[in-house]
């Protein structure tokens, strides 16, 4: 008892211990394991535990993963491109909503709006993805609707089985992740700053550009990261939306682990993906650090 009775710091440490130990065992340790195994190789059904960089050499030498060829991109750049596009669109679509809830909606109705926005997010992801397939499919809701209305004669093919459908689905899935951080940043803005700006001769629009937008950058950065990072790891949407044709990084990893049974290569691919995500995220933070200084 002794030290816990007298030292609140010791009590705090004792409380941090269980979650920390849990995370060390089930997160830190596995992350180390994934690094280790990525330097081994698969030989038949067994693992060859001699240290080698063969997996990494395989990833970097062939055209499939990184470099691509004249006809198609490498899987990694394509994945990053798709995630970046999804992120851009998701955040751009989300900003006005966050702005709307923060600045237009009456204070007592804000939590209702937030609640309305969060509900779809908590409903089965798999089923939502699947429904987009139904909506965008050849005989889907959009096509049949448009034909009924006489706008088109033949169902459109462009809707499903291409990147557009992936982007639409992911933009839908991660909408809440984008809205909330921006909303929080906007809520923090002292409203008198806006009045001060208008008092100094700016109109609504220039006030938005010169005051609101810069002050909401931390929220935008948060939104970008929190959308970008998980979308790279999502393989359900590409799998269902691209059919068997298109493969993104996460599909490749999934295949290595669950179908081809080449875990070391899968581990190396996971690490490359994590590194790529980390580097892109850091670059993004660095590019915006002027706006993040002293806030965060």
């Amino acid at each position: 008892m002794g030290i816990f009775a007298t030292s609140p710091k010791a009590r705090a440490a004792a409380l941090v211990a269980p979650p920390l130990i849990y995370s060390l065992l089930l997160l830190a340790f596995p992350l180390v394991a994934i690094v280790v195994i990525s330097f081994w190789t698969q030989s038949g059904l067994n693992l060859d535990r001699t240290f080698t960089t063969a997996n990494y050499r395989e990833i970097f030498s062939g055209p499939i993963y990184i470099w691509g060829n004249a006809n198609r991109w490498g899987v990694l750049p394509l994945s990053i491109f798709v995630s970046a596009t999804v992120t851009l669109i998701t955040v751009a679509l989300a900003y006005p909503i966050a702005y709307f809830v923060s600045f237009v909606v009456a204070p007592e109705r804000k939590s209702l709006w937030l609640f309305l926005i969060t509900i779809p997010f908590w409903t089965s992801y798999l089923i939502r993805v699947f429904l987009w397939k139904v909506i965008l499919g050849y005989n889907g809701v959009v096509n049949t609707g448009l034909i009924e209305l006489g706008i088109i004669q033949e169902p459109l093919n462009v809707l499903l089985y291409n990147l557009n459908s992936v982007i639409i689905t992911l933009a839908h899935a991660y909408a809440v992740f984008a809205i909330l951080p921006i909303y929080v940043a906007l809520e923090k803005i002292d409203r008198s700053l806006l009045e001060a700006s208008q008092d100094l001769g700016e109109n609504r629009f220039t006030t938005f550009l010169r005051v609101t937008l810069p002050l909401s950058v931390p929220g935008i950065v948060g939104a970008v990261l929190i959308v970008f990072i998980p979308t790279i790891g999502d393989y359900v949407t590409p799998e269902l939306m691209l059919g068997s044709g298109g493969r993104l990084m996460s599909n490749v990893i999934q295949t290595q682990f669950l179908q081809l049974n080449n875990w070391p290569l899968g581990a190396a691919l996971s690490i490359i993906t994590m590194l790529a995500v980390g580097i892109v995220s850091l670059l993004f933070i660095l590019l915006n650090r002027r706006w993040l200084r002293g806030r965060a």
Partner: protein, 270 residues
């Protein structure tokens, strides 16, 4: 209040976009046709009846409920520890420790799944089971639990517990009589949210599930059969109804917590 019609219209359209899939769900679930397309052919509950008689589905559901319940309890317990420590005096490394626990929030889910799969199969040489899924789900749920409970704990005046102890309560008594009732709504929200996350997760479950699949894994398996589509719609309808009910309960408790403690409502989870 400003008018801002442009933004208002945009917000409505956005909500339609957000809700479109969910609203279509019951349409097809109660549609008589085996093909998911317009026009609708007629009202029928036969897909639900078929669900009722599918044994494999019931097994998957039981698995998922078991996993989600244990995960919710574990993650909330650990999240409560962390959130409470967050409001206590700092010691060297506290920020780092709490930051590390939040890490799954910014790790691609597939990486967590893969890493755990390696540890379970290669390092520990255990068989995959519901418990491996629970272990992994707890890892990804802890950050959400902490985020929800942080709000609850940070709203508390640190003097509350001291006042209780000053009036003769032990440290545990002070926690039980003062802190716990005040954060209870947060704990209930956390339990419900973790339950939903676990129930809904597919990626981790697919990697770590044992011989008995969880619900999302089972659904994913169904998607390969065209004639199972209406079944998925029916199942989805049920799941969405459950999720929304739980969410409304969670939100109710969260608001009651806010009101009970007399704080200003700042809105929303996370």
């Amino acid at each position: 209040m400003r008018r801002a019609w442009g933004l208002r219209t945009y917000a409505i359209i956005y909500l339609v976009f957000l809700y479109a899939p969910i609203l279509l769900l019951p349409l097809f679930a109660f549609n008589d046709a085996a093909i998911i397309a317009f026009p609708l052919t007629g009202f029928s509950t036969r897909w639900f009846e078929q669900l009722w008689t599918t044994q494999a589905l019931h097994q998957a559901l039981r698995n998922s409920l078991f996993i989600a319940s244990i995960t919710a309890i574990l993650a909330t317990l650990l999240g409560t520890c962390a959130a409470r420590a967050g409001t206590m005096p700092s010691f060297p490394g506290k920020r780092g420790a709490l930051g590390f626990v939040m890490l799954p929030l910014v790790l691609p889910e597939i990486v967590i799944a893969v890493a755990l799969l390696i540890v379970v199969r290669q390092v520990l040489d255990l068989n995959l089971s519901n418990w491996t899924v629970i272990a992994a789900h707890t890892v990804i749920c802890i950050p959400f639990s902490i985020a929800i409970l942080n709000g609850a704990f940070q709203n508390l005046d640190p003097s509350f517990e001291e006042a209780a102890m000053d009036l003769g309560e032990t440290r545990w008594g002070a926690f039980r009589l003062v802190t716990l009732p005040l954060v209870l709504p947060g704990i209930i929200s956390s339990l419900l949210i973790c339950f939903i996350i676990s129930l809904d997760d597919f990626v981790i479950a697919q990697f770590l599930t044992g011989s008995n699949p969880t619900m999302p894994v089972y659904i994913y398996g169904l998607t390969r059969f065209v004639d199972a589509l209406p079944l998925i719609m029916a199942l989805g309808t049920i799941l969405v109804t459950i999720s929304i009910t739980l969410l409304i309960i969670a939100e109710y408790f969260r608001r009651r917590g806010v009101a009970r403690a007399g704080f200003k409502d700042t809105g929303g989870f996370l």
